[in-house]
Amino acid sequence: MFEAVVLPESPSISAIHESAAPSVAALSVEDLSHSFGKRVALDHVSFTVPPAGFTMLLGLNGAGKTTLFSLITRLYSSRSGDIRIFGFDLRRQPTRALERIGVVFQQPTLDLDLTARQNLRYHGGLHGMRPSDCEARVREELARIGLSDRADDKVRALSGGQRRRVEIARALLHRPSLLLLDEPTVGLDVDSRRHILAHVRALCRDEGLAVLWATHLMDEAADEDSVVVLHQGRLRASGSVRAVCAETGTAGLPAAFAALTAGERRT
């Protein structure tokens, strides 16, 4: 549909994290539909996320982003369509697929009465990590987000931005190759927002991670990103920012998004 994205990372780096062939997409969604009763939340959506690099999932509230995330993380299954994580079918090989995903949900999901370290340990256990390995990874990830000194504070005592960073650390604990973030900057102040975005971009660059970042804030996208535009449950465009702008004949992403989502309100 659109030209292939130029990957900022060589595939060999992502191969360290992923044993499957590097050319396999990190995430491939094919003809995915889902409805709640009569309300169609996703309507024949197809797109892919490259095995390394930053992909923005753009959509207004109610576009179907959260439903899409719920389906990709197998909170529930779709009625029709396929989801593959690095080639592993989510329906047939859920374990292999889920092992490769790290996820930060839109709502905060940390246990406020537990410490950051305890929250991370719990997550490591859920992924079946050996306690000694888990302990080392917890230290590593807490150091990376600069919260080593707050590791034994209750999460309740941390600021919103710090909690988000802990959630990102948690999502990375089991060394996933695909990081999913559902509106991770909602409710944060400008500084925290910038900090989180820069942190995840650095991760993507340094670790060769594939990142799918859902947002309705256009200014979070950069020129070298891939974008997927979702509107009212339908896919409007996917490809590089440049390609999407060219396709819509617009000068920048905000204009392109406005053009893609204009009119056609179904309700």
Binding site: N61, R74, F105, P108, R130
Partner: protein
């Protein structure tokens, strides 16, 4: 996925449940005060009203206090099972249920692990209560304290599975009051926890039938017999059967494909 993977997962779910419980001291107190109030006030008041004849597993005349202790133990487990159901609903709203379910381990295993964690917490409460009851003068045979453990695991799992199943129907946190009124109270009062079944039959044959088929009655009797070093086979089969039934239904309800979430949407998806 090796066996160790499953073990690490189970362990961390139990540790989390334990930590959460320790952080909620009020919950521990409430859980303990409830059966103690029954034992110290209700049982004393009823001692004279309800004469209890010699019925198995007891071999001699017993005071009402002694009769009611196994029922109160089961009550602790019933409340815990429902509290677990509450925490599932709460977790679902807070989203931490999502954290549990993104684990790559099979979902039925995650749910069973969650149940086991709840049971571990309830058993800790039960033993504290039994200790206080012992000081109160209710002294089952010493080995009974050990023999009751498997019965507690089984009945705790059964009541927890019931709570889990209910949690898949309850959408809002407030509905827990409904669960109290329509599940906990009827199950508790229409059972052999407070009065022997033959007494109920004297009062109302219809209620007797309800009480006899009440899974909670079976849990109470299983605990009562084990505590006195006897096995009530009927109760054992009932409790095991109900556990299989409730757990099977709960796993179906939480199945990603068939589950209610696929139809109604997950947490905070009203948008």
């Amino acid at each position: 996925m090796s066996a160790a993977t499953y073990w690490y997962c189970l362990r961390s779910i139990i540790v989390r449940e334990g930590l959460r419980f320790l952080h909620q001291r009020e919950r521990f107190f409430a859980a303990l005060v409830r059966p103690l109030v029954w034992l110290a006030i209700f049982a004393v008041g009823f001692r004279a009203v309800l004469g209890v004849s010699i019925i198995p597993p007891y071999e001699t005349y017993i005071l009402y206090d002694e009769y009611v202790v196994p029922g109160l133990v089961a009550m602790i487990q019933l409340f815990n099972g429902m509290q677990n159901s509450l925490s599932m609903v709460y977790d679902r709203e807070m989203g931490s249920m999502r954290t549990l379910l993104v684990s790559p381990l099979p979902r039925w295993y995650l749910l069973v692990a969650k149940l086991l964690a709840g049971v571990a917490v309830s058993i800790a409460q039960v033993y504290v209560f039994l200790g206080i009851a012992w000081m109160w003068g209710v002294e089952p045979p010493p080995l009974g304290y050990l023999a009751v453990l498997p019965a507690l695991v089984l009945s705790g799992l059964m009541l927890g599975a019931l709570g889990l199943l209910l949690s898949s129907f309850v959408k809002q946190l407030e509905n827990f009051a409904g669960v109290m009124n329509f599940v906990i109270f009827p199950m508790f009062f229409a059972s052999s926890a407070l009065y022997p079944l033959w007494r109920i039959r004297e009062g109302s044959p219809a209620l007797y039938l309800i009480a006899a088929y009440n899974p909670f009655t079976q849990a109470v009797e299983l605990i009562r017999f084990s505590l006195y070093l006897r096995v009530d086979v009927t109760a054992l089969l009932w409790v095991a059967g109900c556990l299989a039934l409730f757990l099977g239904a709960a796993v179906l309800a939480y199945d990603p494909g068939r589950g209610f979430w696929a139809r109604r949407g997950g947490p905070a998806e009203q948008a």
